[in-house]
């Protein structure tokens, strides 16, 4: 068991869905679940779900080899502007390296972030993929 079980388990909602922290004080919205507004520090925050759709604003194709991440290479890390206007950085999958460009419409898809092979947990979470035509 390489990774902590509760560490992943307690955050799974934030990995399985795109959750935004909305500040009732400053009005700003941030990707991920924060206990306080990361902009103003207010604890008067609420968590809201994103629709999981957005557009690629920027991306990098990465060959950076990280232990236990080798089989996912090359990977694409993209900045996605969600329809809610909030930025999120995540992996972009199901697209050819030559097809990645700004403006690609994407949706959040459940994938394996990594897996603690061969005996440990599989870490599922949302990545982004081009919206399937008709979806």
């Amino acid at each position: 068991m390489k990774y902590s079980i509760p560490k992943f388990w307690r955050r799974k909602e934030g990995y399985y869905q795109i959750i935004l922290t909305k500040c009732r004080e400053c009005g700003k919205v941030a990707f991920f679940t924060y206990v306080r507004c990361p902009y103003c520090g207010s604890s008067n925050v609420e968590l809201v779900k994103s629709c999981g759709r957005g557009v690629v604003e920027e991306f990098t194709i990465s060959y950076n080899r990280v232990e236990e991440g080798e089989e996912y290479l090359p990977k694409i890390i993209a900045i996605v502007r969600l329809n809610e206007g909030v930025r999120v950085v995540g992996e972009l999958v199901d697209i050819d390296l030559s097809e990645v460009k700004e403006g690609v419409e994407v949706e959040a898809v459940l994938r394996r972030f990594s897996s603690d092979d061969p005996h440990g947990l599989i870490y599922y979470g949302l990545k982004f993929a081009p919206v399937i035509k008709g979806a």
Partner: protein, 378 residues
């Protein structure tokens, strides 16, 4: 209550290298022995050890205690400081605060990192932990990915081509050729930058630091004690640090918010020319960060830092993280040791006679930034 002044009275460093035949204890011992000898300091009150990855790489917690046990220094106060890649300057910050407050008079700062104990892919993994594990690293985002996104945003914002940003590594390698302690003391051509391996496009291997082991040490003392020592003391005028918002919360990726805060605070306290009159060691973990740091410090106009790289005489004389090397937790201590030498006995074939020397360090994409302002006594 009168606050103490803080002085660096001696510094020591070893060549950053793949020291396969030496452990962290041997590396630390070399710089500690050197920095204490001939210092004139009789007793040390506090030892601050900077190290980023002992838990991950060395399977060692409480490295400061273990190190003191191994160096025969069991009666001294000691603590380890870790703030990611900027740990070295954080150790200086802790030491500076201890002396300023009067809690200590003589403080030894040790920066040590044994990086080459594992292959690169394993080090890449533990290095990635400087990001927010729960938000970023678990989602397979690593530091060079962010540097790549910053570089692309920068190129786009200023309408530049990738080829416009190739002189930084060339300059750093050139500087490192004169630094006997640098890991990569060889020159490179501009063409070589873009033909080197891609890490995260458009970041190439030659845009980033090599992995190497290093150790550096500083001996600090209070104003009261400084008159008793023979060496040429350099005053630690100010040490400051700040934290910036996480990457995905930044609308303008071409800015480094924590570094910007420190730059304005330092200018407010010491005048607008504080950076232009200083020799500087800055944190060029990825070359794009060097250009932006130059802009944040006011040394270059926004989007034009690349035009002034060749004119930078006393910026990263060491060769920077790029070519001197970046033994993570030791790097900030290296920077201060290099600046200390640069303004006293001379360093890397040069001597600086200007007013200030400034070390700038940061972790990840400016997740935290730290600066130390040094001044040679007239």
């Amino acid at each position: 209550m009168e606050v103490s002044e803080v002085y660096v009275i001696n510094s020591a460093l070893i060549k950053i290298d793949r020291h396969f035949n030496k452990g962290y204890k041997e590396l630390a011992n070399e710089v500690v022995s050197e920095v204490i000898s001939k210092s004139g300091i009789e007793s040390i009150d506090l030892v601050v050890v900077s190290n980023m990855l002992s838990d991950c790489i060395l399977d060692q917690l409480d490295i400061s205690t273990i190190l003191m046990q191994n160096l025969g220094m069991t009666k001294v106060r000691t603590l380890r400081v870790e703030t990611g890649e900027s740990s070295g300057l954080a150790a200086l910050e802790a030491a500076w605060m201890a002396i300023k407050s009067g809690a200590a008079e003589n403080v030894l700062v040790i920066g040590v990192e044994k990086v080459t104990e594992y292959p690169t892919y394993k080090i890449n993994k533990v290095y990635g932990k400087v990001l927010d594990y729960e938000v970023e690293f678990i989602r397979n985002i690593t530091p060079p990915d962010y540097a790549a996104l910053v570089m692309k945003a920068y190129l786009k914002k200023y309408g530049l081509k990738r080829e416009d940003l190739i002189m930084w590594p060339v300059k750093m390698h050139d500087n490192a050729c004169r630094n006997a302690y640098a890991q990569l003391s060889f020159g490179i051509t501009p063409e070589k930058v873009l033909t080197s391996m891609v890490i995260s496009d458009p970041i190439h291997l030659l845009d980033t630091f090599p992995l190497g082991d290093g150790a550096a040490a500083l001996l600090l003392t209070s104003g009261k004690a400084v008159s008793n020592v023979a060496a040429e003391p350099v005053k630690v005028v100010y040490v400051d640090s700040a934290v910036s918002a996480q990457f995905h919360l930044r609308e303008d990726l071409t800015r480094l918010p924590a570094t910007a805060v420190l730059a304005s605070r330092l200018k407010e306290k010491f005048g607008d020319k504080v950076f232009t009159e200083a020799a500087i060691e800055l944190h060029d973990s990825y070359s794009i960060y060097a250009y932006i740091i130059l802009e944040e410090l006011g040394l270059a106009e926004r989007g034009k830092a690349y035009e002034i790289v060749s004119e930078l005489e006393f910026v990263n004389v060491s060769g920077g993280l790029k070519a001197r090397g970046h033994p993570f937790g030791a790097t900030g201590v290296y920077q201060v040791a290099e600046l200390h030498k640069l303004v006293t006995e001379g360093f890397a074939g040069r001597k600086f006679d200007g007013k200030y020397a400034i070390a700038h360090s940061m972790s990840g994409p400016d997740y935290n930034a730290r600066v130390a302002l040094l001044q040679k006594l007239a």
